[in-house]
């Protein structure tokens, strides 16, 4: 079955959610929203789904453009302020958060603050939302809809969200051994981090994408394993679910 790359990415993100996980979806996060709903309606019925509408386990009939929007309250079980979801995170009970970024470096550090000097920026970016807080102790999955060398840079000028900092055991030495980025899911490929150096490593390329495409669109040297499989496509049932719950193409807004 034909599918869009947004649908592939949503399916891949959903697969990062295990049954029983507690997952938080943030603001301006259409694909994480759809990934959570997909996971909960398919392989992870016992996951707990938190989101920026401050509700628990909603099951909307149609997803909203704003991922904090009122439609997201539909069929929820409870209201819970984000403050208390973060309390759960501080207790080590939140399993995963999906994070976006303007820039990502080879150690998974993300920048959402500035391009240029911090106090005299060339571009003032929006700020990292939950990043500096949650990336300090939580496992994260980074999603990037536009994989290109401007996004994937050798070293971010400003670490908003902590990845593995300078790689190796930097996190441990800073006393933040727990957590860190688990995967990076883009429109071209899936990446993870090599366990020793904590350098970003290619896991699979999406159907129709070559390893060379990925290398050319990444501004640093990616670890390329000998065998690079092709990413498994979404199932027809997944695609159908996504299209059904997203008749307005909310999933496409990050690709415009």
């Amino acid at each position: 079955m034909e599918y869009k790359v947004s649908e592939l990415m949503i399916s891949l993100m959903a697969r990062e959610i295990k049954d029983g996980d507690k997952v938080l979806q943030g603001l301006y996060s259409p694909m994480p929203m759809l990934a959570c709903l997909l996971a909960k309606n398919f392989h992870a019925p016992n996951m707990t789904y938190f989101n920026t509408a401050d509700v628990v386990d909603p099951n909307p009939t149609e997803v909203p453009f704003s991922t904090a929007g009122p439609k997201l309250q539909e069929n929820c079980i409870a209201y819970l302020p984000l403050a208390e979801v973060f309390d759960l995170a501080q207790k080590g009970e939140l399993s995963l958060i999906f994070l976006g970024a303007a820039q990502v470096d080879m150690y998974g550090n993300t920048n959402l603050s500035v391009i240029g000097d911090y106090h005299n920026p060339k571009v003032r970016l929006p700020g990292g939302a939950a990043s500096a807080y949650l990336c300090g102790f939580m496992e994260t999955v980074i999603w990037i809809p536009k994989h290109n060398p401007k996004v994937f840079v050798e070293k971010v000028p400003f670490i908003t969200g902590q990845g593995y900092i300078n790689g190796w055991d930097t996190r441990e030495r800073l006393g933040i051994g727990r957590g860190g980025p688990r995967k990076v899911i883009t429109n071209l490929c899936v990446m993870d981090f090599e366990p020793k150096t904590k350098r970003m490593r290619l896991v699979s390329v999406h159907p129709g994408v070559t390893v060379e495409d990925v290398v050319n669109n990444t501004g640093f040297e990616l670890i390329i394993p000998e065998e690079v499989p092709t990413t498994a496509p979404p199932t027809p049932e997944e695609i159908e679910f996504i299209r059904n719950i997203d008749p307005n193409n909310v999933r496409e807004i990050e690709f415009k």
């Binding site: 819970l80 302020p81 403050a83 700020g127 807080y133 300090g136 902590q162």
Partner: protein, 270 residues
């Protein structure tokens, strides 16, 4: 109980002072107190220090209108409509001071303010450049456990403005949608303005005491502003108007365009 029902004009005039630390409710393009924002702009308030978690058009408009000297925030963005143009422009030109947070610190700063404590321990931040540049987040070792955390300073807003669903004339507020930091803000600020979709009789409050999210003594003024969150959403009452926000995003790319938006939607509508 004192009657606190007043007009928006009076509430903003009497309760929002130049230089105030001002917390605004809502998140993104949802339940922001936009009628109050427009009135603040019309009254030309100056040097406000805005406090909020993940904000959009409300913060951007106030910044563009020259009402703001400092912003404590985790994110200011128009989401799919792009970077917040005034926030970006004023920051790049050094016209506003930024106190950059993450959601976890700004929320807990507001919560600490509500709790009446000057600071609160939170996790995270270590290894982030946000910590390195912050004057309101400091490293801290727990004397009981030896654990390394950070302390976040209570920002203690002077004023909070939130848009809620229902209140009686005394300021007993029912908040029936997403809570966000609205309730914490109301409990944290010295002065609190609540704009509401509906004024309800006091008896309705007493019939459902469990629904009173903010009792009267936290509230300074109640203002009846139906559709007062427009163009942002208000839960079951109305959705955001993305056409208006898109128009804002396009116009506000230039200072002139921004003035055009103000003329059309802020100064005309009063």
């Amino acid at each position: 109980m004192e009657r606190k029902l007043t007009t928006l004009q009076e509430a903003i005039k009497n309760l929002v002072n130049d230089g105030d630390k001002l917390a605004l409710g809502g998140v993104g393009r949802n339940r922001c107190p936009m009628d109050a924002v427009r009135e603040i702009i019309r009254q030309g308030k100056k040097n406000l220090h805005l406090i909020g978690r993940e904000k959009g058009i409300d913060f951007d408009m106030l910044i563009g209108a020259g009402c703001v000297s400092k912003v404590s925030f985790a994110l200011v963005s128009l989401e799919e409509f792009g970077l917040a143009p005034n926030f970006r422009r004023f920051a790049q030109e050094g016209k506003i001071e930024l106190d950059e947070h993450a959601c976890g610190s700004i929320i807990n700063s507001i919560r600490a303010s509500a709790m009446g404590i000057p600071c609160i321990p939170v996790k995270g931040f270590i290894g982030s450049d946000v910590l390195r540049h912050s004057k309101t987040i400091k490293e801290f070792i727990c004397p009981f456990t030896g654990e390394k955390l950070v302390l976040v300073k209570a920002l203690n807003p002077d004023v909070a403005i939130i848009h809620a669903h229902k209140a009686d004339e005394y300021g007993n507020v029912q908040l029936l949608g997403s809570p966000w930091e609205d309730i914490y803000m109301a409990k944290a600020a010295k002065r609190v303005i609540v704009t509401v979709e509906e004024i309800i009789p006091h008896e309705e409050i007493k019939e459902n005491p469990h629904l009173t999210a903010i009792p009267y003594f936290y509230v300074s003024a109640v203002v009846h502003t139906p559709r007062g969150a427009y163009p942002t959403s208000c839960d079951s009452y109305y959705n955001y108007d993305d056409d208006n926000i898109k128009e804002y995003a396009q116009l506000a790319r230039t200072p002139e365009g921004f003035q055009e938006y103000l003329k059309k939607y802020v100064f005309q509508s009063c």
